[in-house]
């Protein structure tokens, strides 16, 4: 059963068509890659799915509960509460907050202790605080960040910041996780570790993952299926092996042969 289905999705900015007529469908617990040359519309596609941009045309429906829900007219925060989380290509942590606070903000939806009760510091406030902090530490531990819980996010190393973005996204308890170039700027060693981590969290948290990535070793290693975009259009779809030998993909990446 598909958890996410996209039909004829199109986004135009003035005269420029950034995403054109895309159809795709993602199955539950899949790990799907989304690749394409720069400017192919990958990030725009993520922005459409998370409600940051409104599509010009097309349908998006999410199927996590009893019946599919259309995401077209939902606000970003509503989509987030429905179970879609993402990370950013250029890291966008809350830099002047601690690592712990970044994760706690991810848990915003789960905290049901209101403002008045929090100011009055009733017992349920402390209980909730303790519970969320404990959960946050457990999440951080998976990514080897538990010792940095009280450090400001901006003081983390680059690789740690990338990992914290994933932790923060997981804190929202998503069923669908979009990773926008998680390996960008990482060295080969870090990339390998990241690959393992993505697999691990996908199984542990019962996630469906969509990955945008330029690092082909990561994509080819971790993804079960790959979609290729070029100029906003869907160019190809298939297993890593099929994509590797697809002539259209080779042309898009390597250029036309003379």
């Amino acid at each position: 059963m598909s958890i996410l289905s996209v039909e004829k999705l199109t986004k135009q900015f003035g005269g420029l068509t950034a995403v054109s007529d895309i159809n795709l469908s993602i199955q539950k617990n899949e790990l799907v890659g989304l690749i394409g040359p720069n400017g192919a519309g990958k990030t725009t596609f993520f922005n459409l799915l998370t409600g940051v941009y409104k599509p010009t045309k097309g349908k998006i429906s999410l199927n996590v509960g009893k019946e599919p829900i259309s995401l077209i007219d939902k606000r970003t925060d509503q989509i987030a509460s429905l179970g879609i989380a993402r990370t950013f290509q250029n890291i966008r942590l809350f830099k002047q907050l601690t690592v712990m606070d970044n994760v706690l903000i991810g848990m915003h939806q789960k905290n049901n202790v209101g403002t008045i009760r929090s100011i009055l510091r009733v017992p349920s406030f402390f209980k909730m605080e303790d519970k969320l902090k404990k959960e946050a530490l457990e999440l951080l531990a998976i990514f080897n960040l538990e010792d940095s819980a009280d450090v400001l996010a901006e003081n983390l190393s680059y690789g740690q910041q990338r990992r914290l973005e994933i932790v923060r996204a997981l804190a929202t308890e998503p069923s669908l996780l979009f990773l926008d170039e998680p390996a960008a700027g990482m060295n080969p060693q870090e990339s390998v570790e990241l690959t393992k981590l993505i697999r691990k969290i996908q199984q542990e948290f019962d996630l469906t993952v969509i990955l945008i990535e330029h690092d082909m070793s990561v994509v080819m290693n971790v993804c079960e299926r790959i979609y290729v975009l070029e100029y906003g259009r869907l160019l190809a779809e298939g297993t890593p092996e099929a994509i590797r030998s697809n002539p259209d993909v080779l042309r898009a990446y390597l250029g036309e042969e003379e």
Binding site: T50, V52, R75, T76, D77, A80, S81, A85, R86, F88, R92, L93, F94, K95, Q96, L97, D101, L104, I105, G106, H108, Q109, N111, V113, G114, T115, S118, I119, R121, F125, R168, A171, T172
Partner: protein, 292 residues
């Protein structure tokens, strides 16, 4: 010495009122990067609501404060909803000009409605002075300190301890990322206006009590000075607004006491010019270097 201490006390009480108003400027700026020039008018409305509550309902100071804060909070939320939210995606200058427009609208609306004349604020309490040797402190000053301190502690608790406070800080740093965490940015912005406006409303009642008079243009100058206080402390920084308010209040009182009382406003504006020249990010602000 004793007269100096006395001036310090007077400066602190004026300063804590500026601080209450400055907090609203700074919080709104922190979250939507808008200098809400209608904020001084919210302060004025707070004073008038407090006046009306005491005058017509015959209640004491605390109920009047609460009613004034609620009314101001509501007004702040309405202003944001009607005037600023539709402009959220336009340029900052558009919203700024709108804010000035809203300020004049409320000010002149009040002149039209209640008349331009000065009213005397009903004295709900007998203003005894307590002599403490070096200096004396009046009951009203004690009430100003008490109210300001309680409200500032409550604000700190809200910002640092509650889920809403965390959401406020998240939105101020990166609204888009905050949304993706499931935070409803519109709610957070409304909440910020509510908090800031409630504090300004409380400030209005305290000023009415302190100076005995209120009028529809009373928001203009304290509004500007509180704005300067917010810039002095570092706009967008909550402790900065408190510090800036106290410093402006002290400076103004000292100028009146030891200099020329006609210069009191001029000196405050000179501070604004100096801080913008020397340290535009304010006393507590981090100087951010432009990255090339």
């Amino acid at each position: 010495m004793s007269s100096f201490m006395q001036q310090v006390i007077n400066g602190l009480s004026l300063g804590s009122i500026y601080a209450l108003i400055a907090l609203g400027y700074t919080m709104v700026y922190g979250i939507i990067k808008l200098i809400n020039f209608a904020h001084g008018e919210i302060f004025m409305i707070g004073a008038f609501v407090g006046y009306a509550t005491i005058q017509f309902l015959n209640v004491g100071l605390i109920p009047a404060l609460l009613v004034a804060m609620t009314a101001s909070a509501l007004l702040g939320v309405i202003i944001e909803r009607v005037a600023y939210r539709p402009l959220r995606k336009s340029s900052r200058i558009t919203a700024l000009i709108t804010a000035i427009g809203v300020s004049y609208l409320i000010q002149n609306g009040m002149i039209q409605w209640v008349g331009p004349n000065v009213r005397s604020f009903p004295q709900v309490l007998t203003n005894t002075r307590y002599d403490l040797g070096f200096f004396s402190i009046s009951r009203i000053q004690l009430i100003i300190f008490g109210t300001s301190i309680i409200l500032m502690i409550a604000l700190q608790l809200i910002v640092h301890q509650t889920k809403m406070g965390k959401a406020m800080r998240a939105v101020s740093m990166d609204p888009e990322a905050a949304q993706l965490m499931g935070i409803n940015v519109n709610h957070v912005i409304s909440f910020t206006f509510m908090l800031g406006s409630a504090l300004a409303g409380a400030g209005g009642v305290l000023v009415g009590l302190f100076y005995n008079t209120i009028n529809p243009t009373m928001g203009f100058l304290p509004g500007l000075k509180a704005f300067i206080a917010a810039v002095l402390g570092g706009i967008g920084i909550i402790p900065g607004a408190m510090l800036g308010g106290i410093l402006i209040g002290l400076t103004e009182t000292m100028v009146v006491a030891y200099g020329n009382s006609l210069l009191r406003d001029a000196v405050v504006f000179v501070i604004l010019i100096l801080i913008l020249l020397v340290r535009p990010s304010g006393i507590l602000g981090k100087t951010t270097k432009e990255k090339v």
